[in-house]
Subunit: 384 residues, 2 copies
Amino acid sequence: MVDVAVIGIGQTRVEEHWDKSLRELAGDAVLMAMHDAQVDHVDSIYIGNMMSGVANAQVQLGSLIADWVGQRFTDAVKIESACSSGAAAFRAGYIGVASGEVDVALVVGVEKMTDSPSNEITAALATAADGDWEVDQGVSFVALNALIMQRYMYEYGWKGIDFANFSINAHANAVHNPFARFRKPIDEKRFIQSPMICDPINLMDASPIGDGAAAAVLIRADRLPKSAPKILVAASSAATDSISIHNRRSPLWLAAAERSARQAYAQAGIETEDIDVFEYHDAFTIMAALSLEACGFAAAGRGPVLAKEGAIRIGGKIPVATRGGLKARGHPVGATGMYQIVEVVQQLRSEAGETQISGCEFGMAQSIGGSGSNIVTHIFKRDN
Amino acid sequence: MVDVAVIGIGQTRVEEHWDKSLRELAGDAVLMAMHDAQVDHVDSIYIGNMMSGVANAQVQLGSLIADWVGQRFTDAVKIESACSSGAAAFRAGYIGVASGEVDVALVVGVEKMTDSPSNEITAALATAADGDWEVDQGVSFVALNALIMQRYMYEYGWKGIDFANFSINAHANAVHNPFARFRKPIDEKRFIQSPMICDPINLMDASPIGDGAAAAVLIRADRLPKSAPKILVAASSAATDSISIHNRRSPLWLAAAERSARQAYAQAGIETEDIDVFEYHDAFTIMAALSLEACGFAAAGRGPVLAKEGAIRIGGKIPVATRGGLKARGHPVGATGMYQIVEVVQQLRSEAGETQISGCEFGMAQSIGGSGSNIVTHIFKRDN
């Protein structure tokens, strides 16, 4: 295995892109990343996408996008693991380069969700849960998360308002990110007054869907030009859990996230405390809390403390959602994992503007597929 | 890159599996492959599947299947490239093991198509074509192949009957394969009398869909037990072309198949003539002809000659579809690439019974995604 570096990044704004097709969205992010990397050719392409077959009546995104971005004939496939598809695609690209099979890999996460009626998208999102044992009972994806949150509040004594700062922090950071879907700050009053979606999840607990694409170019670290910032993939790790919540040892502990994070720390040779920035998967505030706990930043049931005490803010102990997170940058599901990675790279390159973490050496991105069933963790390191 | 060996294979019969869910189908093939390999643990799982989001309202097959086959917590993702998804998943597993990242990889291709109304499956199959520029014009997937076949007949002077032996050969071989969907021989009369589906493609030119799963276990060759047959992955190569036919230099030449095959021959260090058995992608007889040409077994426009002269039969110059091919074993789209690979391994292990090729050293499997836009080629070698 050779060392792998990220040499280029690109992204579109997350929003309702009525004027762009799926391939155009992907192409915009890809061409930005290739321009950033100063490459005009790649050896292999990995597409992260969850629902184009349903939402866009289009599969085989590998061929579709390879040709569109001027890379016809290139080996290109789609990788899917529900909402962690983008991160899983990045992991496939990482292994391709690390193996020596591929010199230059292109990874792009893309999702176009707003062309479809919302009931179709609600159904499509539910395909990430267990069709035979969860969805067939009438449970939607937000309902599954509501069940987890309800139980969490019951077990640990939290109230809905205790989750407010996860969202307030995300929105505060998104104000400074031109690629974020919602760039308006929110306060506690706005959080309290927001409509209930699925008790106890209110509108401000939930991340918005959207259209978007984010991309990165990977190369062997030993071929990195000397002038380029040396952003290395210090760790790549994935783990699964039962797709259905009722089959897990505990519905309140993301065992696969814990395993994936621990493996990543070991591979990078660091501890939890060494992480300077953490782009976590705050699809719902309950997932934000559970992620922080599974990754070792808080004990079980104590995730909300980090939000309440400000530890998750820029300048805090463990800044999260520094570019807005899923909550405010937006959650184009199969693209999200790549947005998180692009944002960590921005931090390590000191390109995060007003939300820059100072002295950023190690950054982590963790994506959650389903309600905690397919977790992909990457750690990046700035090495010069 | 380390050498990679196939240590276990498994498959279900291709048919209408009304009594099995998607995960059960996959599980049956996986457990057969793991039993065959004598392993009870794998490090990474790769699922080949095209349309479960549409046909089964289920994505995230990685977690779903990992847990079902007793491998909870294992890294597991789905790979998709339309009808070559199974082969693309195998390629991802190959790279995982070859890189040294994974010691034991499990690959399974699975598709469950017969639970859905046929118009929905027709629409789902069309998602493999260009949604914006082909399908939006009302063209179905079979119609695209019919356009190619019509042009091929016009350019090279063939008639429909000249394609009959592709199907007759496939059915003759399927008689001896207990996992094949159709185990009845057909003759020229049956071919001629079969109903027209989309002129000039008749029912016997077209492969049937079906439900099925096929699996393989891969390990580093240096960890292969001495008693096991040494079936090595001699080459793995993939290439894409424009997803839409009208954008290609020629609609009658599978440029990506040629590129993928040539790269594979080079990697294996062999020539076309060294291939002893070829499991090709005979989704339609026109694709059988074009594959043979692109891979160097016949000149452009001369593919049907191989069928007419019997070169494709067991004992012929280049035996194809030796277990029935897509035409008679059946074509559960995302699983098909893995069926082809399992069948080549059967040949190299001398386990192909009445359709065994004698002295089989090199076997090739080539899968075609879309109408020629995503091609994955593998060459296997028996080394003891």
